[in-house]
């Protein structure tokens, strides 16, 4: 392994990324309050360990929609990954296959969904931004089906493209922003659109971008297999709550009728364990994934996942649990954060504390 900590991965990522690409990967929207809240929410939870429980064998494997996963982590969809390295989405798919986890391919990343699918056997998920009407959907979803994607994630927190001010100050926009055809379909998205997609697609569907139990309930009534709690990494609605803060309400509303996924600020094994203890089935990593890709493509992403897995193992062992199903809210306590929350605050040894 080239990297032993994610500190090193982030430092290398910063060295490798052009300023504008870094702004895109590391930034949030407007005042970046929602982005910071994700970390703040995680830092507002403490762990309560049990002792003398024989943790010589720790099993941190899980399943996502019935598919086996080496750990309760998946690679969240990210658009414009090709900015980091030309074949970044391919590296993500390769890492998922090699490591044994699930990845979600963003409808906005390159290479194409066919190219990604051609050499890959593991289950993977396609994430869609709705940018067209019936014909567009039939064409795209036909291609997704033909290429054996296991599920479809529909992003619903992007009705409007947010103001990402790091990019705006630099006078730069990612390709997904500049070629923003069909934006009106994202704005017009409603439950009829969802039903139409469901009818065309026919397979398991993930509702991505939920933060209110009312919407989780509607999602279930409309056949969602997964409620995916997300504020888009704090990159869409500014001043949104942290995702971990809303997770308990969503879990309560879903009440076992679907799986609950979450993302937003997850950087550490302890972060993942907190979400699992609160009832999430799996945790998506976005920024961390992007940092790893920027640090060194496939091999750095493999290192990053190995580090995260190791952290999960350590957290479970020290908590006194030997499998994920033993985790519940009794292992958690409310706490006050002890550092200023930002996108890198889980890594206190970065030079200057934060790389911009």
């Amino acid at each position: 392994m080239e990297f032993r900590t994610n500190h090193e991965i982030i430092r290398r990522a910063r060295r490798n990324a052009r300023g504008t690409v870094w702004d895109y990967l590391a930034g949030g929207s407007e005042s970046e309050t929602a982005m910071r809240r994700n970390r703040f929410g995680l830092d507002s939870i403490a762990l309560k360990p049990r002792v003398l429980r024989d943790v010589s064998v720790v099993d941190h494997s899980s399943t996502l929609l019935g598919h086996k996963s080496r750990m309760p982590v998946f690679l969240a969809p990210m658009a414009s990954l090709q900015l980091v390295t030309p074949a970044a989405a391919q590296a993500v798919d390769d890492a998922a296959e090699e490591f044994g986890i699930i990845n979600m391919l963003s409808g906005h990343s390159r290479p194409s969904l066919e190219e990604i699918a051609v050499n890959s056997l593991h289950p993977k998920i396609y994430q869609i931004y709705v940018r067209g009407g019936r014909n567009w959907l039939e064409d795209l979803l036909g291609r997704v089906k033909e290429n054996n994607y296991a599920a479809l994630a529909v992003t619903v927190d992007a009705a409007v493209y947010s103001n990402r001010e790091r990019q705006m100050i630099a006078g730069w926009a990612p390709p997904t922003r500049s070629n923003a055809a069909g934006r009106e379909f994202l704005a017009g998205l409603n439950w009829d659109t969802w039903d139409e997609i469901r009818q065309i697609w026919g397979g398991p569907m993930i509702l991505k971008g939920v933060s209110r139990p009312e919407d989780a309930e509607i999602g279930l009534q409309h056949g969602a297999s997964v409620i995916y709690v997300s504020n888009h990494g704090g990159r869409q609605l500014d001043h949104d709550r942290s995702t971990i803060q809303v997770l308990p309400d969503i879990v309560r509303a879903v009440d076992g009728r679907a799986e609950v996924f979450i993302d937003g600020g997850f950087m550490r094994g302890t972060d993942v364990i907190k979400a699992i203890a609160l009832g999430a089935q799996a945790v998506g990593i976005g920024k961390l994934q992007a940092f790893a890709l920027s640090a060194g493509g496939l091999s750095a992403l493999m290192d990053c996942l190995t580090i995260l897995e190791d952290e999960i193992k350590i957290a479970m062992g020290l908590l006194g649990v030997s499998s994920l199903d033993q985790l519940d809210p009794s292992y958690l306590a409310k706490a006050r954060p002890v550092s200023v929350a930002h996108e890198m605050s889980a890594f206190p040894h970065l030079p200057g504390g934060r790389l911009t």
């Binding site: 005042s31 927190d157 409007v160 100050i169 998205l189 609605l237 709550r241 200023v340």
Partner: protein, 357 residues
């Protein structure tokens, strides 16, 4: 869209800083004593978070509201500010031009140049005149008659300035400039002053600016006041009051729909404005933000600033899943912990050094 002289409010603030001398910068940015009130304004806004809804078709978003029946393009008012002519060459006329051009309502301060008649003659849109009392009852009557004659749509009386707050950033020369003996009259303002003004203005709405308690809001309603303007003067008067938006719920309850509620103090983002609307304000005043915009580019700068705010309001509404301001209620927001140290620039995290002094 006006010519894009800046793309973000970050850029606007930096442009203003480059254009303005230290005296003006200190006057605009600063507040009273420890500047705790100023910081509390931001802190209180940062203690609220949104609860967005999804799949609600937000293709058409309407950001309009009204100010006593006059259309407002966004729920934003240009708060009264004294001495604008010191950093924007045409003073109150620049603000008036921006309001006319964009579709907002401006408040002309008693201590802003040029004269109220000149500003009134500058444009046809509705505006409000803001009164500082600088003389006896006859002086007030005389002033209000001029305001009525010039056909201002509303009259605003500032009630939080019995004393001048200690603005400790200001140097002795700047302080001397603001040491006006006639300010003593401010100390004598009572509910009788309110009555006296009401007798002169007829049907025109009267707004009391600087109310910070439910008790005074209720008294104002009893006295037939039409607009309750929650304000701590941008933290520039009494230090250590609460953040303005904290006062909204109790004032809304006390007013019980019998008057319109306005608010200012620390509002710099579309998200801030939507929070105030969610908690029952009719519209939000911008002061410092207005001053930066004028410093960055005069009337053009202010129009651009309003366009950026409009864009942020649109984004916030769309991502909240709402298409008109009436749909926003208190269920859209909830309490949260702040994630940054609050100060006058803390909603702009990419400023060099984080804060521009």
């Amino acid at each position: 869209m006006s010519d894009a002289i800046f793309e973000t409010t970050h850029d606007m603030i930096m442009m203003a800083r480059r254009n303005l001398d230290q005296d003006n910068w200190d006057y605009i940015c600063g507040a009273a004593e420890s500047e705790t009130s100023l910081r509390r304004n931001r802190m209180a806004l940062d203690c609220l978070a949104f609860r967005p809804r999804i799949c609600r078709d937000v293709s058409e978003i309407n950001t309009q509201t009204d100010f006593f029946g006059h259309k407002l393009r966004i729920p934003v008012l240009l708060a009264p500010m004294g001495g604008i002519e010191r950093w924007s060459v045409n003073g109150g006329l620049d603000v008036d031009d921006a309001a006319e051009n964009f579709g907002s309502v401006n408040f002309l301060s008693t201590v802003c140049q040029p004269s109220l008649e000149e500003v009134a003659a500058n444009s046809p849109h509705p505006k409000s005149f803001q009164i500082y009392v600088r003389g006896d009852d006859n002086w007030i009557r005389e002033l209000v008659r001029r305001v009525v004659k010039a056909n201002y749509s509303a009259v605003t009386l500032t009630v939080d300035s019995a004393f001048y707050g200690n603005r400790e950033r200001l140097n002795p020369a700047q302080l001397a400039l603001r040491r006006v003996p006639a300010r003593e009259w401010q100390k004598k303002i009572t509910w009788d002053t309110v009555k006296l003004i009401q007798d002169e203005i007829g049907d025109r709405p009267l707004i009391l600016k600087g109310i910070m308690t439910a008790e005074d809001a209720a008294l104002a309603v009893e006295h037939g006041v039409n607009g309750i303007y929650i304000s701590n003067h941008g933290g520039r008067q009494l230090d250590h009051v609460l953040g303005n938006i904290q006062m909204l719920p109790e004032v809304v309850t006390a007013v019980g729909g019998k008057a319109e509620i306005f608010i200012d103090g620390g509002f710099t983002r579309g998200t801030d404005i939507i929070k105030a609307i969610a908690l029952g304000a009719k519209a939000v005043g911008i002061g410092r933000l207005q001053a930066y915009a004028l410093g960055a580019g005069g009337a053009e700068g202010l129009i651009r600033c309003l366009e950026l705010l409009e864009r942020e309001i649109n984004t916030t509404m769309g991502l909240l899943g709402i298409t008109s301001l009436e749909q926003i209620g208190s269920e859209c927001v909830t309490e949260a912990m702040p994630v940054t140290m609050p100060h006058e620039h803390s909603s702009f995290p990419h400023l060099p050094g984080g804060r521009v002094g």
